[in-house]
């Protein structure tokens, strides 16, 4: 089993910001911001030194939590510091982007890393639908078409025109070609049946995030079944699970930290006004949205979002056991871990990386 460090590059003072999304850019201070990225890159280097196999990057917008709106830029910078690890883009939010541009970024990264790139495609969380003014109702269609177009753009040796539903390009001819032929490994991050099936039918990897093991298994069971239908068996690198983590030297220390976190009464993750959240969800689902009714039934300032849970919590043996469950039950071969919890500073992350590298990686390596 492989370990992946999620390069969140969080702004160091993010825990002091009010819980809103988007976070007003005026909260940032350039000195703190510059140092935060330096800290984040140092964490990546240390993760490589500690034996992590992958370093991953994600496209997220408009907050200090994961301030990598252009993840390829971040990946390029880290790839120059970390010369051995796989650089995993987990991933690009396809509905928001020009798919040809994503193909060009993946191909370029694959060249500057000499074939160390994993590409990742996903739709994104509801808040991301507000970025670049994409209609939430079109997200699924844009994702599916975008994946087809990117794969074609990365593999087709002759220039072509693309006549899509959402994208029309009369000349596509991506340079450079990827180093990994015919295509760098691709992970599709999803929980939806149509996209799981797409990944299976196209022999692509699957990425699942933050769900408990049994819910993850529902998804990976479908994936395995549909891969079998498509005539292939996914390998260990094909199933990636991203789960939040806090690892300490002992279970007791980890529990103490978690209790401390609970006392801070953390707000919801990626909070949105209830009206906005419901409007996005309705648009995604194609259902009616009653703004006036919702306003009348909601308290003023009502915000919603997922609560911050921790998927892997404990000392090294406990965390290794928790990770092993995902391997055994779901066939997960790569575990992608965001260590930058809201109340954990740079020193804390470095300490966790050391504990994880020395005591957990040896336990999961042979799985």
């Amino acid at each position: 089993m492989k370990a992946s460090y999620f390069g969140q590059m969080g702004y160091s003072d993010r825990s002091t910001f009010p819980t809103t999304w988007p976070t007003p850019p005026g909260y940032t201070d350039s000195k703190t911001s510059v140092q935060s990225y330096q800290d984040g890159m140092e964490e990546c280097e240390f993760a490589e030194e500690m034996g992590f196999d992958w370093i991953s990057f994600s496209e997220h917008h408009y907050s200090g939590r994961i301030p990598t709106g252009t993840p390829s830029v971040m990946a390029a910078a880290v790839a120059e510091r970390c010369k051995k690890v796989t650089i995993a883009m987990l991933g690009h939010l396809l509905p928001l982007n020009n798919p040809v541009r994503i193909a060009e970024e993946v191909a370029l990264l694959d060249n500057i890393t000499n074939g160390r790139v994993v590409a990742g495609f996903l739709r994104g969380t509801p808040n991301e639908d507000q970025v670049y003014s994409v209609n939430p109702a079109e997200g699924r269609g844009r994702l599916l078409e975008g994946m087809d177009l990117i794969i074609k753009a990365l593999t087709e040796p002759q220039p072509f025109a693309w006549e899509g539903r959402y994208y029309q390009f009369r000349t596509v001819a991506v340079w450079p070609r990827p180093v990994q032929q015919p295509l760098p490994p691709v992970v599709v991050g999803t929980r939806s049946d149509d996209t799981i099936r797409y990944a299976a039918e196209h022999r692509l990897g699957l990425g699942v995030s933050f769900l408990p093991v049994e819910q993850t298994a529902v998804i990976t069971d479908k994936y395995h079944a549909w891969c079998e239908e498509a005539g292939w068996t996914p390998g260990p690198d094909n199933i990636v699970y991203r789960g939040s983590i806090y690892v300490a030297e002992t279970d007791e220390l980890a529990r103490e930290w978690f209790e401390g976190l609970q006392k801070t009464k953390p707000g919801p993750n990626i909070p949105l006004r209830r009206t906005v959240s419901e409007a996005i969800q309705s648009a995604r689902a194609g259902t009616d949205f009653d703004l006036r009714g919702l306003v009348a039934g909601s308290p003023e300032g009502d915000v919603v979002g997922n609560s911050l849970g921790i998927n892997f919590l404990g000392g090294p043996d406990t965390v290794a056991k928790q990770i092993k469950e995902f391997h055994d039950r779901c066939g997960v071969g790569v575990i992608d871990l965001p260590f930058q919890q809201n109340t954990v500073d740079h020193r804390g992350v470095m300490k966790e990386l050391e504990v994880f590298g020395k005591n957990v990686i040896p336990q999961i390596r042979e799985l």
Partner: protein, 259 residues
Amino acid sequence: MAFKEEQIEADGFSVRYWEAGHGRPVVMLDQTGYRSSLLHDALAEQYRVISLELPGTGDSPANAASKSVGDLASTFAKLAAVITTERYTLIGTSFGAHVGLWQAIQSPDQVEALILVSSPAIHPQEVLAAASASEVHQLMFAHPENAEKHKPLSAEIFAKESDLMRRLNSGDHDSEVEDRLGDIHCPTLAVFGQEDRLVSSEAPRIYREKIPNCNIALVYDAGHCIIGDRPEALRNTVLDYAEHWETFIVGHQTGVINP
């Protein structure tokens, strides 16, 4: 747009064609059953559109005379010369594209621009050998619900066309036409559905590589019968190319939202 049915004779054949519109001529070799579409209507608003029924296809009598696809293209050249003396844009679909390729090679003086839609001449898939009319019909579409909107060929027409294509080796890779693609010097567009199950996905690039002035267009979420799966996409692509040839790559749509 009302198309008027006409009949002509040449090269020992009596064939029907349908015509509408005015302007530069566009000659179409359509798949049987797809002679009326958004594309035909849109073209007829700008061009003199002639859709010709090749001998041995559709409701025409069986064709035992043509010896090869090139031979059938020679017949087509004679028929087209009766209808128009002007150079024309030739739009061939499926088997019609195969004939169109030979026409552009053998009669370059007639063909001003060539548009190939789902051409099976290069690397066809080997799915047709034992398939029935309804099986082939299903295979032509990316989505079963689109197949349901169209009728399969009758058993009689399917048998007649299958016999002709088998006899002319049209279901096989045409290595002779591949060798001669470099002889096509008119602007050429090769359009394929991304989900075409009757032609290999390797085929489009061969046209691009070997025809000197060739663009390829891939229609997302469309099968072999693009007009059935994505009619608007086919109409817009073909209209743009018929008007602009290779300059259809130049964007003209405005990006202004609020002037």
